[in-house]
Structure formats: structure tokens, C-alpha cells
């Protein structure tokens, strides 16, 4: 074997300079080829940062727990305990009700917001003087089938609300300041245009990925795109949604709770009559209270703690001295 040539300082520096030049050229070419916009295919639109805050000054930390089997009755009781619907909806308001219409399944399965509750809430908003009430969701399944078969669509229309089904033009990219998941992500913002009040209405359900589907998870239905990716980090996503969406009021329907096999269920034996409806202005507290209907503690649902740490509310719902009423 031929012995290696001696390596002097000059040769070393020459080789080092050559290697450096090679790296610089490769990096430079990569930089030229880099497309910061990503592939074409979507309209290029500047992402909005955050969503409007719909919470009302002076109503923070209100919480009511109403017990009874009849949803329309318990909703009325809970709202009265919170100061009446008039505390949240004033004459001329334009109200958006975000329901859970995720699945094209019948009301008896309790996988979606119950149509009786939708009807009554729309009716109460109009009774308080709302100029318009809109009901929307971006369901998992085909939207038209979901709203029709869940009974939500007919109930909303019967009460006089407008139904907005998601379509491509209603989504705009939104980023959450400081968020790590909701960044330049399509959000169903179209129905929010001109809205002055936002109310979330969700059923109490077990959820295979997140442990529970309550009012915070309900905001997942505002997301578009390939949102199932977020299931890999669902707790963080729900916590980010809790920061992104600041509603006027949330209503959690635990009249019948889906105890197992959520979020779709399928069998009546997955359900239990828990005869409780929770309403409030702190969605984290409402969900912490609702978790108990599923036999869970806030610590069992990591998204609750994460939402609290992010400043979206408190898991210690008893500290809010909830008003407890029953039929």
C-alpha cells in the first residue's frame, strides 16, 4: 500500500476551504429551491390570528347545574339560574349556535346535540330579541345527512334559525398566537361573520382518543382540512381550541350520557340517564363538572389541565359556587 502523503497546514486549510465551499453551495442551492409557500392547490390567503372574543364582560365564572329528564325544562332552569338568557342575548344580537352534528346518527344514540335542546335554545334566543340565529357545524360525516338524520336541521329550522352547512368558501386559515398545532389551519369562520354572540351546545360523551367529548371538544367541529391528524395530540389541540374560541355561553347536555364506545356509540346500552344539564361561561369548569357524569376526574382528562394552564378557565368548578337547580 502506498503510504499517505504528509498533510501540512496549507493542505489542511485548502481541503477545509473546499469542504466549506461545497457545503455553502449545497446550502445555497437548497435555499434557492425552498418553497416557503408549500405546494399550490389552495388559495393563498393570509392567516388570521385568533378569533373574536365573544365572552361578555361581567358574566365570567357563571355556572349552573340543572337536574331533570326534560331538556327544554332543564335548559330553562339553568339559564334562569345564570341570570336569564337576557344576560347573554340582547335585542338585535346575531347569535351563532355551534352544535355537535358530527355524525349522521339518530337522536336516540346521543352522539350529537339533541334536537329538542337546539329548538329550545333557538327559541329562547329569539325570545330575548335576537335579530338572527344561525346553527352550524362541520361534521365528520356528510353535512347534509348529519343535520337531517340527527334531527338538528329540522329542529333549527322549525324554531326559525338559519342552518349553515360548511362549504369551502366558509373556511379561512387561522393561527393561534403561541399555538403549536393551530397554525395557518382552515377554520369555519364564515358563519361567524357579523355574529355578536357565540353559544356552544354539546352532549356528554365518552371518547376513544380524548377520554371525553364535552363542550371544549365540540370546537373541533370548527376545524376544516385533514383534522384527524390532530388525534395524535388531541389533548393539546383541545387546549388550544379552548384558548382560540371564547364563547358567550356553553351548554353541556348530560341528560343522557354516552358512557362507553364513544364518540359514535351505536347501542342504547352505551348510554346512561344522568339527568343533568350544565351551563356556564367557563367552558373548562363546565367540562370539569361534566366529566363527573362519565365517572372521570379532571385529572383523567389531560386537556382540562392544559386548558386551565393556558388561562382558558378553571377545573375547580366548585370554586365558582355553581347554582344547583332541579325540576
Amino acid at each position: 500500500m502506498r503510504p499517505a502523503d504528509p498533510l501540512n497546514r496549507r493542505e489542511f486549510l485548502r481541503r477545509a476551504a473546499g469542504a466549506g465551499l461545497g457545503i455553502t453551495l449545497a446550502g445555497g442551492l437548497s435555499g434557492l429551491a425552498f418553497d416557503p409557500e408549500g405546494p399550490a392547490g389552495l388559495p393563498r390567503e393570509e392567516a388570521k390570528t385568533g378569533l373574536p372574543d365573544f365572552s361578555l364582560p361581567g358574566t365570567a365564572g357563571r355556572l349552573a347545574i340543572a337536574r331533570g329528564a326534560e331538556r327544554r325544562e332543564t335548559l330553562g332552569l339553568a339559564l334562569r339560574a345564570l341570570g336569564g338568557i337576557e344576560s347573554f342575548v340582547r335585542p338585535g344580537d346575531r347569535v351563532l349556535i355551534k352544535v355537535n352534528a358530527a355524525f349522521a346518527s339518530p337522536p336516540i344514540l346521543s352522539a350529537t346535540t339533541h334536537p329538542d335542546l337546539v329548538f329550545e335554545l333557538v327559541r329562547l334566543c329569539f325570545a330575548a330579541g335576537a335579530a338572527a340565529v344561525v346553527v352550524t357545524d362541520n361534521p365528520i360525516n356528510d353535512p347534509a345527512s348529519c343535520f337531517a338524520l340527527s334531527g338538528i336541521g329540522p329542529a333549527a329550522r322549525r324554531a326559525g334559525a338559519a342552518l349553515v352547512l360548511p362549504s369551502e368558501g366558509l373556511f379561512t386559515p387561522v393561527s393561534l398566537a403561541g399555538g403549536s398545532l393551530i397554525r395557518n389551519w382552515p377554520v369555519l369562520t364564515g358563519p361567524l361573520a357579523g355574529v355578536t354572540r357565540l353559544i356552544g351546545v354539546a352532549p356528554v360523551k365518552d371518547h376513544h382518543r380524548s377520554g371525553a367529548s364535552l363542550t371544549l371538544k365540540n370546537w373541533y367541529g370548527l376545524l376544516g382540512g385533514r383534522r384527524n391528524l390532530f388525534h395524535q395530540d388531541v389533548h393539546r389541540l383541545i387546549a388550544e381550541l379552548a384558548v382560540l374560541v371564547r364563547p358567550t355561553l356553553v351548554v353541556l347536555d348530560g341528560t343522557t350520557a354516552m358512557m362507553t364506545n364513544g364518540p359514535t356509540g351505536g347501542s342504547l346500552s352505551d348510554l346512561r340517564e344522568t339527568r343533568t344539564l350544565i351551563a356556564g361561561t367557563d367552558p373548562v369548569a363546565v367540562d370539569a363538572c361534566g366529566a363527573e357524569l362519565l365517572g372521570k376526574r379532571p385529572g383523567d382528562l389531560p386537556f382540562l389541565g392544559a386548558a386551565e394552564r393556558a388561562g382558558a378557565g378553571t377545573v375547580d368548578f366548585r370554586r365558582l359556587a355553581p347554582a344547583e337547580v332541579s325540576t
Binding site: 408549500g38 389552495l42 376513544h208 384527524n228 346500552s269
Partner: protein, 339 residues
């Protein structure tokens, strides 16, 4: 000055060279970490482009033929739908992971209406799981506690408004929009039509024979496809609950590729429980087995040849030991190598 390299005695790099080399390696490592970190984040533009392309492809795909001929008294209410591994969550959202981890291949579904009542319908879900074992996994994972017996298949049960059963490599759900005799009658007709359309014999499933017969609660028989008992990697686990005079407890086993793999899994299981504060000691009366006390319950776990097995959730340590010994005997009778 020259940095001489003697051919017979390789030159050691100078400190400066070593430092430069280390800095370059560290820089490369940093770049690799940054690339990996960025890759892990879903890029909205890319993801939504792929999603839009998938939707466009789905829209171009021809509509599949009817799933099967609707039986008498029913008619197709909606067109059939098909979902694959990428789109399953578009149908069942967060429950998709349960199926995906069990080997899901595709889902076909369709709604059938009952003749004469527009609001009365049944949705048929046909989950193709690729094997009987996979189908049985998702069937047993979701089995409802107060289920009623159903004779449409060997593994089947009925709820007030639904039928659930395994047919060949499929897991089938029939979910009605209401409860009552007309729905039950229609679901039975649909189940008959489905099983007649694609006959499937009794599954060749030898694992269940390994469970001791006495005391076994038949409907408790199950298979956990992945992450059994909270341990990542503990998959393909068969389990069954036993009712005895001393109380109830679970027996489980999983067959691995080798005895060494079974032993490694057993060690990982014990480590996990130890981290949760379990008290672990040798189980007297079953050679090589471990006795575990955790959260006021007792377990006895062991390996036999390629099997990792044991008894769990016993309120009495003697019950756990007794059941574990009976399972060990069955595994031995079945001709598996001693530990």
C-alpha cells in the same frame, strides 16, 4: 511547520482538528434534529393539499355497487359509502384508532329504510379486518355489558337497537334509528342476507382452546390487538374472565415468536407495574412466576415457552395463583416447551 504523518505510525489528529471535527459533527446533529422536529409538524399547506387531492380522487371514483340486495321489508335509503385506512376517521372520528390498531382494511356502509316508514332506518357497517382474529378483537373490545344472545353468528350479541357480530374476516354492526320489534325483525333479515351472501365457516381459532374450561364466562372471551393493560408492545393478547367461589379474575396469554421474546415482554410488564408502585415477589407454588400486588388486587404472571401469561384482577392472591396454575397446565398439555 508541517503536520507530519508517519506511514508506519498513524498520526493522531491535533486538538484543533478534533475540535473542528467535533463542532462540525455537532452542527450536523443540530441540523438533523431541526429537520426531524420540523418534519413532525404537520404543514397546513401540504396536508390540505393532500387532503384536497384525496377528496378530488374520491369524487372521481365510481360509486360502488350496492353492498348487498336489501332483504324484503327494507330498501336502500342512501348510497353505499366506502372508507379506507386514511379516511376511516371521516366516518367514526376518534374511534378509528381502535380499528386501525387491529388491522382494519376497509369499511363499507349503507343505510336501509324500513318499508313504509321514512324515519325508520338501519345503518349497516361492514368492517373488513383482514382476519377473523382482528375482527374478533374489535368485536370483543366493544362488547356491551348487558348484551343479549344472538344466533346469527358464533360471536354475536344484540342490544335494544343494534346487532353486533363477527362474520368471517368482517366485524358487522347493524344500528337502527329506533328500538322495537320492526327494527329487530329487519336487522335479523339483514344479518341473514349478509351471512348468506358470503358464507363463512366456523373460524379455525385454536387459542381459545388454551383457556381452562371450568369457570370461564364465555362472553368475556376477548382479544386485545395492541397496548394491552397499558403496556406498549403487549399486543395480540387473549383474555377471559373466570367466576369461581373465591371471586372473579382474568386470565390472559399472548404467544410470541420465541421464548426469549416472551421473557422480555414479561420483564417489561413487571417493570411497568413496579413503576406504578406494585409489590413484586416470586410466586410460591408456580416455578418462575411472579406474584404482584397492585392497587389492592393480585396478579401472578409467568412465561411458558413462547407464551407470556398470567392471572389478573384477583381480590385474593390464592385465586390468582390457582387460576395461573390451571392456565400453565393447559399450556403444558398443549405441548408447549417448559420454561
Amino acid at each position: 511547520m508541517s503536520v507530519a504523518v508517519h506511514p508506519a505510525a498513524p498520526q493522531r489528529p491535533s486538538r484543533r482538528e478534533s475540535a473542528i471535527a467535533a463542532a462540525l459533527m455537532a452542527l450536523l446533529a443540530l441540523i438533523a434534529v431541526a429537520v426531524l422536529r420540523e418534519q413532525k409538524r404537520p404543514h397546513p399547506a401540504v396536508e390540505n393539499f393532500l387532503y384536497a387531492r384525496a377528496l378530488a380522487a374520491a369524487a372521481r371514483a365510481p360509486e360502488p355497487a350496492a353492498l348487498f340486495a336489501p332483504p324484503e321489508g327494507t330498501r336502500a335509503l342512501t348510497a353505499p359509502e366506502r372508507f379506507d385506512r386514511d379516511s376511516l376517521s371521516d366516518k367514526i372520528d376518534g374511534k378509528a384508532e381502535l380499528y386501525l390498531s387491529a388491522g382494519f382494511v376497509r369499511l363499507d356502509c349503507q343505510r336501509l329504510a324500513l318499508e313504509g316508514d321514512e324515519d325508520a332506518w338501519i345503518e349497516v357497517f361492514l368492517y373488513e379486518m383482514g382476519s377473523f382474529e382482528n375482527a374478533f378483537s374489535v368485536f370483543s373490545a366493544q362488547r356491551r355489558a348487558d348484551a343479549a344472545a344472538l344466533d346469527v353468528a358464533e360471536f354475536a350479541y344484540a342490544a335494544e337497537n343494534a346487532f353486533f357480530f363477527v362474520h368471517g374476516t368482517r366485524y358487522v354492526e347493524l344500528i337502527a334509528s329506533g328500538a322495537g320489534e320492526p327494527f329487530t325483525r329487519a336487522m335479523r333479515a339483514i344479518a341473514r342476507a349478509l351471512t348468506a351472501e358470503r358464507p363463512a365457516g366456523r373460524p379455525a381459532w385454536t387459542e381459545r382452546e388454551l383457556f381452562p374450561a371450568a369457570g370461564l364466562i364465555p362472553e368475556s372471551l376477548g382479544r386485545v390487538a395492541a397496548d394491552a393493560f397499558g403496556l406498549a408492545g403487549l399486543d395480540r393478547v387473549y383474555r377471559a374472565t373466570y367466576r369461581t367461589e373465591a371471586g372473579e379474575a382474568m386470565l390472559f396469554f399472548t404467544r410470541r415468536e420465541s421464548a426469549a421474546e416472551a421473557q422480555a415482554l414479561a420483564r417489561a410488564y413487571l417493570e411497568m407495574l413496579r413503576a406504578f408502585g406494585a409489590a413484586i415477589a416470586p410466586a410460591e407454588g408456580l416455578e418462575g412466576a411472579s406474584r404482584i400486588e397492585v392497587l389492592d388486587t393480585f396478579e401472578v404472571v409467568f412465561t411458558r415457552g413462547p407464551f407470556f401469561a398470567g392471572a389478573r384482577e384477583a381480590a385474593d392472591p390464592r385465586l390468582a395463583l390457582d387460576l395461573a396454575r390451571r392456565l400453565d397446565e393447559r399450556l403444558a398439555e398443549a405441548g408447549h416447551a417448559p420454561r
